[in-house]
Symmetry: C2
Subunit: 196 residues, 2 copies
């Protein structure tokens, strides 16, 4: 196996990249600007050393605690609970939320052997009881597992505190078309209808 085959093999282990695309990427790298390739390799080599989960909220960060947890301009009384670290950047890019985050690291999925103990839930309960939190927004995905996890969290929080627990609205996506909405989404948009 030569250097081309080895790099092709590494590229094809990335999600969504097959053997053919990997070959194309290696050909691109062969002809690419050397300074770009060197920088790319260095970034790849040091990423895992530089980036760690924030000890407070669990999102990926270079500094611990992360810039969001240490930002004094943010509303520290609202915590938005998400499944994955990347969900934090998705919500941040919407500029719709100015509170703090908490990353679970997954959802309750018994079939995959993931129970509440594998998730970052204890730390969330600790934050709720020790800090002045007035609302928890549960922003797990609107899937069976996400909904189950939301329900579980709501009960856990209710057992230790009487703060407001909310869930992101689920319904028709903006710009979508009734015709293409699936039954479940449509049903949920009826149940969650709001007054005009």
């Amino acid at each position: 196996m030569n250097a081309i085959d080895e790099l092709t093999e590494s590229f094809s282990r990335l999600p969504g990249i097959g053997k053919k695309s990997a070959g194309r990427l290696v050909n691109f790298i062969l002809k690419a600007d050397t300074s770009y390739v060197k920088k790319f390799a260095l970034q790849l080599n040091t990423l895992q050393e530089k980036i760690k989960p924030c000890s407070v909220c669990g999102t990926w960060t270079e500094d611990d605690p992360c810039p969001i947890c240490t930002d004094t301009m943010r509303d520290r009384s609202i915590i938005c609970v998400v499944e994955q670290p990347q969900d934090v950047s998705t919500i941040e890019s919407s500029h719709e939320f100015n509170g703090l985050f908490h990353v679970l690291g997954g959802v309750i999925a018994p079939l995959e052997g993931i129970g509440p103990d594998q998730l970052n839930i204890k730390q969330l309960i600790k934050r709720i009881t020790e800090e002045k939190v007035s609302e928890v927004i549960i922003a797990t995905n609107p899937t069976v597992e996400g909904d189950t996890t939301a329900l579980y969290l709501q009960r856990m929080i209710a057992a230790v505190s009487d703060i407001k627990v909310t869930r992101l609205a689920s319904g028709l996506p903006v710009g979508g078309d009734l015709e293409y909405a699936d039954k479940l989404t449509l049903a949920r948009s009826f149940r969650g209808r709001t007054e005009v």
Copy 2:
């Protein structure tokens, strides 16, 4: 810009990978096995040093001349001319050809400012006149530029030698459907029809 954004930026410079996919790949790298990521970074870092164009045929190789050019079991009287180094591995994987290769490094494309002088043509003529070559198979792509280049090469070769110059057959792909064939391909498959 933190380490995540920097690596996302580098990933998104790869062909066919947008900003969102790049973000997904970085998240995969963050959670991936460290030994894999380290190996990947090393392979990326050393690829361009290890792999060079073969001084005889122009394909990517670790050893110069490449294993194909030095293989004494191959038919050294036939040279297959291709556009890009990756075409060599595509043809090799078909196990249909046992001769030598010659990589042009592109095709004649006046609109992009690529004329015959930018291509590896002189070296091809040198090989034809100095070595015992009996046939040149032109395997440039069946595009306007590929066909133009094939015609140009055929004339250049005819000027210095009377060896056989052939072109890969063009027509309906195996497993294809007449209904979906474009007009040009269909026209070419009529002109190139063979007796049953």
